[in-house]
Amino acid sequence: MNTNHNALGLRPARIVLNLFLAIGALAMAGPFIWMMFSSFKPLGEIFAQPPKLLPQEWHFDNYPRALAAADFGRGFFNSFYIAATVTLVSLLTSAMAAYAFARLRFFGRNSLFMAFLATMMVPMQLTVIPLYLVMGWLHWVDTHLALIVPAALFNAFGVFLLRQYIRGIPLELEEAAAIDGAGRVRIFLTIILPLLRTPMTALGIFVFLGQWNSFFHPLIFLNSDDKFTIPLLVNQFKGQYGSDWTSLMAAATLAAAPLLLIFVIAQRQIVEGIALSGSKT
């Protein structure tokens, strides 16, 4: 009797709930949908009143025009190899530091760990000016090293996240390996690293996304077009062809599409990874 009442009572609530969620989802997807359809409109159509979502006349010229105006192929290559290098190297260095903090006893360990934690509070705008000067001395301004090296060698959040995980790994595993004569390096490589797969995947996604989409540091450190990453190219395109709205949407689509595609395919890992990295802090 009770369940019967629930089933009847739940239905309208279900419908209202889904209605709200669907309207919200549409509001989130709307700008993307608008972007994609607009990238197939002829320029003359954009002033139509009232604005129409679908192109009246499908027009495929915006993409070649955007591709001709800026070297997006080069931009993709730059963005990809910078993000991939930073991700791989910073995962390794973060895991190494995390292992040291979690398992090894060395002079100043706790104060150094506190120093790592404290730097998470420092806004990048405070360090960007001296960092720019440091890059000047190293002759790294307008090179990708200015973006890769600092990010690959310093990731306080990653060190913190992985340290928390390593502390959760039972010591017995390492002790057994040590009795068998394994040194620290072998223990790290054969026992610790494989057990860190889940948090390292999460961290890797986090780092890669951050690098791929990063705008602030590339804007400050890079000057030449051929060094530009995708966000810089889109911004430059907007500055030069600002009134060519439909090509701008083609450029924005080109910039957004790869990650959206990856996201739709690997949604579960990405979302769970990001939730995981937040819950450990």
Binding site: L21, M96, F106, P130, L209
Partner: protein
């Protein structure tokens, strides 16, 4: 080690054991630093060094070339007395006040509903999360269109339901709310995912027990869900306030280097002063003030948390 200690009765054994231990310790220290080395170099060269240098710059007159001279508090006085910078600070606070509460409330509401959406959950989640993985520059390019009164479907929609349709980016009253709309749209998915993770950790048995005691939905929300979610709320509140105070990308894509006074924020000013005017001293002083304000805001939230945050462990 156990056998060495049980045998250690004669002084000679004791000395030998101690020096062996010391060697082992030294080895352990060295191994520790070897593992730490790459990140330690990064910490020193790319964080602590620049941080110290930023503080020196904040008390210096310098354009990056020429000679650096001690400025005392002159840079700080300049920052505090400059009416445009004061305006930009107010703009930044206004942006934060608009963005943070609206984003957190709507993220919680959506997460709460998604939790009940059954099989549709991950389908909806795709849409809410998509803007998070998109670069802020692409996002700003899309919204540039949506905010242009001549071609915006958004304005058309607003007009059709009888609401005012402003010239978002040119109107002094609407430009900061426009930034906040983009910020909320892009940041919502991240907060939803965090809230959903928090909601999943609430023991079902607690909610069932409340059901048996005859608690209504509202009571369960107030007495069980929100208190158990408070660590997530605190985390999101701290991180999103810090993020809001650093808003920059959208403004730069919308306005380039010529943002008008009502549209400027603190970080936009830092970039302009440092990399347009090459006044590194003043820019560093402003960045240092931003840092101190963020530290203070975080410290206050951490101090007040004892009054409302519940930790289960």
């Amino acid at each position: 080690m156990g056998t060495a200690e049980s045998e250690a009765v004669s002084p000679r054994n004791l000395v030998a054991a101690r020096s062996a231990r010391r060697r082992r310790n030294l080895n352990e220290h060295l191994t520790g630093f070897a593992f730490l080395a790459p990140q330690l170099i990064g910490l020193v060269v790319f964080m602590v060094g620049p941080l110290v240098f930023a503080l020196i710059l904040a008390f210096s007159h310098w354009d990056g070339f020429g000679t650096r001279s001690f400025a005392g508090l002159a840079n700080f006085e300049k920052v505090i007395s400059d009416p445009q910078l004061r305006r930009s600070a107010v703009n930044t606070v206004w942006f934060t006040v608009l963005q943070v509460p609206v984003a957190m409330l709507s993220a919680f509401a959506v997460a709460f509903m998604l939790q009940r959406a059954g099989r549709m959950k991950s389908f909806y989640r795709t849409f809410y999360f998509a803007p998070v993985v998109t670069s802020s520059v692409a996002v700003a390019a899309i919204w540039l269109w949506l905010f242009n009164p001549d071609i915006s479907p958004l304005n058309n929609l607003l007009r059709s339901i009888g609401l005012p349709a402003p010239d978002w980016l040119q109107d002094a009253r609407f430009v900061i709310p426009a930034f906040a709309i983009v910020g909320i749209w892009q940041g919502l998915g991240y907060q939803i995912v965090m809230f959903m993770a928090g909601l999943e950790n609430i023991p079902v048995t607690l909610l069932e027990a409340a059901d048996i005691d005859g608690a209504g939905e509202w009571q369960k929300l107030r007495r069980i869900t929100l208190p158990l979610l408070s660590p997530t709320i605190l985390f999101l509140s701290i991180t999103s306030i810090i993020g809001s105070f650093q808003v920059f990308d959208y403004i730069y894509v919308f306005m380039d280097t010529t943002a008008p006074a009502p549209a400027r924020t603190v970080v936009y000013e830092i970039v302009q002063i440092a990399f347009r005017e090459f006044d590194f001293g003043t820019a560093s002083a402003l960045a240092a003030i931003l840092f101190i304000v963020l530290l203070a805001l975080t410290a206050v939230q951490l101090a007040v948390q004892k009054k409302w945050v519940h930790y289960t462990e």
